[in-house]
């Protein structure tokens, strides 16, 4: 694995570190370890360091002076020596209702893949998906680890709007729309859990490195969870492991 990144300034107030490696849970663990190390040992000013699949962005609120010196310190850093830590990888079980009411493209997908709807649901709920990062929309989770058998292109015509919580598939990715929005993904279900609430602290319950496993719930159970979410009594409890 390549451990030394390409390091570039991105404008006056940010530093971009990019690696040339595969997207994998092991490499994510390395990225998150470097992210933690930089926050604790390299940068002096208040910054926000975010990761994507193979990059870290160190973003400064202002203070240009320290961008210069931190940039030099990062270039001098021996990335090989950074300890790869056991980053907190919480496992969350997240409910999804795959009823026809929500699973707009389930039938199409089942037909295309020569699977029954039950088999399709089983394939979608089997993996522990890895959360790489949150982007695209507030609370949109970039999840890795979908079964190849569910791979499906985007819809040729995007829908003007899908429901908040819509669970979809596009290419080799699966994801949840945190809010009602236009959508080009194949929609297979709906998740009643709030993925983004600007009034909550933190506004999204998940962090990169977490693992997520979906489980199928009936419409009745979905309605019950949704009521609890609205009442503020629903709790997602992680299982460590």
């Amino acid at each position: 694995m390549q451990v030394n990144p390409t390091i570039n300034r991105l404008g006056e107030q940010a530093i971009l570190l990019q690696w040339d490696f595969e997207i994998s849970p092991e490499n994510l663990k390395f990225l998150l370890s470097v992210k933690k190390y930089i926050a604790q040992n390299v940068v002096k000013q208040e910054v926000e360091t975010t990761n994507t699949y193979i990059s870290l962005l160190v973003n400064y609120v202002s203070s240009i002076e320290s961008v210069y010196s931190d940039f030099e310190r990062l270039k001098a850093l021996d990335f090989q020596s950074i300890p790869v830590e056991a980053v907190a990888s919480r496992l969350y079980r997240v409910p999804v209702c795959y009823d026809a009411e929500f699973g707009l493209d389930l039938e199409l997908l089942a037909k295309e893949k020569s699977l029954t709807i039950d088999e399709l649901i089983r394939l979608h709920t089997a993996p522990e998906y890895t959360l790489y990062f949150i982007g695209f929309l507030p609370g949109f989770l970039y999840l890795g680890g979908m079964d190849e058998r569910l791979k499906m292109p985007r819809k040729s015509e995007p829908r003007a709007s899908v429901l908040k919580g819509a669970v979809g598939i596009a290419e080799n990715q699966t994801g949840i729309y945190p809010n009602s929005s236009p959508a080009g993904w194949q929609i297979i279900g709906n998740c009643p859990v709030a993925l983004f609430d600007p009034k909550s602290e933190p506004p999204c319950p998940f962090t990169p490195g977490d693992r997520i496993q979906f489980y199928s719930v009936s419409k009745a159970k979905y309605d019950k969870i949704q009521q609890e979410v609205q009442a503020g009594t629903y709790q997602l409890i992680p299982t460590h492991g």
């Binding site: 300034r9 006056e12 926000e48 975010t50 210069y68 982007g135 809010n179 600007p198």
Partner: protein, 291 residues
């Protein structure tokens, strides 16, 4: 608390401060003023903190009625501005009284003006910022009949009554940029074209992004979805250049060929759809070269 009553909201008037920091990890856009040079000037005239919330006024401005006295200053785009039907100047501090009406008229130059009030607008702060954004703040922009809270105290400290700023460069059509992370993947000819040709702002421009009409043929492949910032200029496979602006997403999959300087973002924010610009390469003082 004192407030300002919105008699007419204008085309797209929003409350903005310098934006949200520390929440990109949740996928939340940075937001904030598009032209921080002009908004900063308006706040400076009133002795406000540079992060104080201002009104960002676009194309057709609002009509506002004040419920109490305060000071105001407007900087940025040149509008006809009337205070109780009397014309007032840009970049100057004015005292307003209870019942006064401020009206924005014809736009003569630029695109965005900034109205600051003493102490800054006191609207709701969500995730550390008052900047309006759909799904984050309760309102996404000004609407008719809204009341905008302002502070009661009128700051009478030794604020400057007039500041002369050299702003010729703000109107310059040559926009300051740095090479972006994927710039080096362009051929020498493609790189030259980026700096030699001019590009017209598309009518699809908004606070999220400014696409350009002319295309730049290229053979760049998409990148693994990676970080982007306000000012990142992406190049799509079909050759469209897209300058991401303050409300942009936090990640993207198109090659990032240029990065506007902080001042370059301000320059571009004042250009109207249909106007042509060019990109002018600026050197980062140090550390711009990858190892």
């Amino acid at each position: 608390m004192a407030n300002i009553h919105v008699l007419r909201p204008g085309f797209y008037t929003t409350l903005q401060d310098t934006g949200r920091h520390g929440v990109a990890q949740y996928g939340v856009p940075q937001s904030g003023v598009m032209d921080s040079f002009s908004s900063g000037k308006s706040n400076l005239l009133l002795n406000n903190n540079l992060n104080a919330a201002v009104l960002e006024i676009l194309m057709t401005g609002p009509i506002l009625e004040f419920s109490s006295e305060t000071y105001i200053a407007v900087c940025g785009a040149q509008f006809d501005i009337l205070l109780n039907d009397q014309p007032i100047s840009l970049a100057k501090r004015y005292r307003v009284q209870k019942g006064d009406v401020l009206k924005f008229g014809k736009l003569h130059k630029g695109l965005r003006a900034y109205l600051a009030v003493s102490g800054g607008f006191q609207s709701e702060s969500v995730l550390g910022s008052r900047s309006q954004y759909p799904g984050i703040t309760t309102a996404a922009k000004l609407e008719k009949g809204m009341s905008l809270a302002i502070t009661d105290e009128v700051v009478t400290a030794k604020a400057l009554s007039r500041v002369n700023f050299e702003d010729t460069q703000l109107w310059d059509p040559a926009i300051e940029v740095y090479p972006g992370p994927e710039f080096a993947l362009l051929s020498t000819e493609e790189q030259q074209q980026l700096f030699e040709r001019s590009f017209t702002l598309s009518s699809k421009s908004n606070r999220m992004a400014i696409p350009f009409e002319e295309t730049l043929n290229n053979t760049l492949k998409g990148i693994t979805t990676g970080p982007v910032l306000p000012g990142t200029v992406q190049l799509t496979p079909s050759g469209t250049l897209i300058a991401l602006m303050r409300d942009c997403q936090v990640s993207g999959g198109y090659p990032r060929v240029l990065q506007l300087s902080t001042f370059g973002i301000c320059q571009l924010a004042q250009k109207r759809p249909g106007e042509a610009i060019s990109f002018k390469r600026k050197a980062l003082d140090i550390g711009a070269i990858s190892r």
